[in-house]
Symmetry: C2
Subunit: 279 residues, 2 copies
């Protein structure tokens, strides 16, 4: 199968690597607006060739859209205009908005909305990693809107990548994603700006920073070009979770202000229940 990967960054590049390695793709055609990324993707062996979009779409059997979510939507229309037999999947972190675009298009039934639940705080082709998706979940949304063969194609490639398949509506996906991914990024961005704002002795942070700090602040390195569009598209869910998060922080703050340490212990005990979910 010939696969076109549009956007050869962290996700697109890692998928390209894995699809080639697993023997799913005989050829990977890369498409990227950034000439430096094009060159790097060839150098790193992520893709076999670089094409313009039209040429890539014509040649490919499967098209993977792996660019920031709002750009992906805009491009999806163009791609759907140009396909007949091909399958198009996206890999974005929001699903309602892109599913709405596909629903309005005459070729929308060739599109499968997917979200492989893997990522790092890095971006660009150099961030592409081997075995990135293994044992992670992939969410496939609104599958009843896609052709059966298109869904099977998507299932086949994700299964080959070692992922387990979850199915849900785009609405449910966006709500859950706000909880398990988008809010973590927001708290991490805010934690980084808090520290950088207030703590002038950066050497001390650098020297003392231990595992706890690193793990909570790591996501703050994430790229605004990817994340701003996600927050725009999932604004309502994200605001809802963010309001609740601020409420929870204010409860802790109030415990400290009032020296109510019994209640603080209770809140921490409640937080400990996350062990039920995260082993």
């Amino acid at each position: 199968m010939k696969i076109a990967v549009i956007g050869i960054g962290l996700i697109g590049g890692s998928m390209a690597l894995a699809l080639k390695e697993k023997g799913i793709a005989q050829k990977i055609i890369g498409v990227d607006a950034n000439p430096l990324h094009q060159q790097k993707a060839i150098e790193l062996g992520l893709v076999d060739e670089i094409n313009e979009l039209d040429q890539a779409v014509t040649k490919a059997d499967l098209i993977i859209l792996a660019i920031p979510v709002i750009a992906a939507e805009n491009l999806l229309e163009k791609i759907l205009d140009r396909i007949d037999r091909q399958v198009v999947i996206d890999v974005g972190s929001t699903k309602q908005s892109i599913c709405a675009v596909a629903a309005k298009h005459k070729n929308g039934h060739r599109f499968v909305a997917t979200h492989p639940m893997w990522g790092t705080e890095f971006s660009g082709p150099e961030a592409a990693a081997k075995n990135a998706f293994e044992n992670k979940a992939v969410v496939i949304c609104n599958k009843e809107k896609s052709d059966v063969d298109a869904v099977q194609q998507a299932e086949k490639i994700y299964t080959a990548l070692g992922m387990h398949l979850l199915y849900m509506n785009a609405d449910a996906h966006d709500l859950h994603a706000a909880y398990i991914s988008h809010i973590s990024h927001i708290t991490s961005f805010a934690l980084a700006t808090t520290v950088l704002e207030k703590e002038k002795e950066e050497d001390a942070i650098f020297e003392m920073a231990s595992g706890g700090f690193e793990s909570t602040v790591r996501l703050a390195k994430s790229n605004p070009a990817m994340w701003v569009p996600i927050f725009m598209q999932n604004k309502e869910n994200v605001l809802d979770v963010l309001n609740e998060h601020i409420t929870q922080l204010r409860k802790i703050k109030s415990c400290l202000e009032k020296d109510n340490y019994a209640y603080l212990a209770e809140l921490i005990g409640d937080a400990n229940k996350i062990k039920r979910i995260l082993k």
Copy 2:
């Protein structure tokens, strides 16, 4: 050298393991109020024997206090009452308060205030890990208040554990610790309660939760018995940082509410500057 470890949990147990392995301790005497921990510490080979406090203090050359910070302060007085030649070090996450206790005691010059910057979200003797401290920092506070030989003893054991030594005043330590450790725990606790409060579909979280969620919420498993006393003792610094953190979250919230995505991108760009500190 005979070393008494008071509190054979995550930190005490890991130090016991390392001090034995590096040949610094010929004998490790464990002291723990919890009979289950006593038994486990013997079973796991963390300690050579379990003693009552008085006996352990009498026999030991060096005493390591590794219990929650308020309990450590209370016990420090008792231990200082009973020593002559011995060195006592603590390993707690706050330093001003315990240094004040030592400063008032006639044997306070035998005490060295230290904070090895390593930990995990787990607790108890089973959480003890090998090579835990290697390449991490240890902070030694107010060293001019301690006898020269006592400081040298502390430096010797931490150097043997592979740690690099930092020196600062207890006040500066507590301020920096609020930024690089205590606030991370608070956001993590609040993130866990946010998710558990609002997200009823725990199966969905469990299935979808990817690396980002895990890394920001991991600390929420941490033990209230350890953390409530830390927050009590470092209340002013923690409140200061927490207020700033809530301010930063509200800025992000306001960007979303007002669809001010240019400013949101700028805030994320600011957060990205954490790369200067965390590689």
